[in-house]
């Protein structure tokens, strides 16, 4: 009986942890982001809220809206 409740608790804890990781990954993926590549191969990643990102993302949104208008 005791071992059964331990297994149940363990399964619930593992399931919750997996779900939390999956949700976090999904949220990160859904966030607007920009990847810039410079000539010598330097990549720069900018995510919503970072300095310099918002203006860039705004222009991208305008471009997308114009393309679909």
């Amino acid at each position: 009986m005791r071992s059964r409740s331990f297994v149940t608790g363990f399964v619930l804890a593992a399931g919750s942890a997996t779900a939390a990781v999956a949700l976090r990954r999904r949220a990160t993926r859904r966030r607007d982001r920009a990847e810039l590549y410079f000539a010598e191969g330097t990549p720069v990643s900018l995510t919503e809220g970072q300095p310099g990102a918002d203006r860039l993302l705004q222009h991208a949104r305008e471009l997308l809206a114009t393309a679909r208008s």
Binding site: G52, L63, L64, R68
Partner: protein, 135 residues
Amino acid sequence: MAPTAQALADLTEISTQVEAAVILDREGTVIGSTVDDERAGRLASSALELVRAAEESRPEGAEELVQLDVALRDGSVFVAADGDRLIAATTRPDPTVGLVFYDLKSCLRGVSEEAEAKPKPRRRTTTKKKDDEKP
């Protein structure tokens, strides 16, 4: 069909992920596009602003921007550069980034090669009349 129009037609045929594309120069002049002229002008203007904003994020010592992609909730925006020419394109959400860049660069390279292959107009040469030929 003009080479630029042909390159863009090939692009949209090969890359089903690309919804709209515009080729422009670094001054924002539209060279070709898959949309009407009015929208192409606005796309080129936004693309140029986007590139300028991206250049401001250039790390110290880094060379010029060669490509960028912006992933938004509703879709993605791509820009690739080849010398003085740029191509900007939009796609549906979650595109295959590497594949889109490959297709955009191939399109841009095709346009550049066509432009270089065009024979330059011959310089008109005038031969001066010799002094003894003058009346």
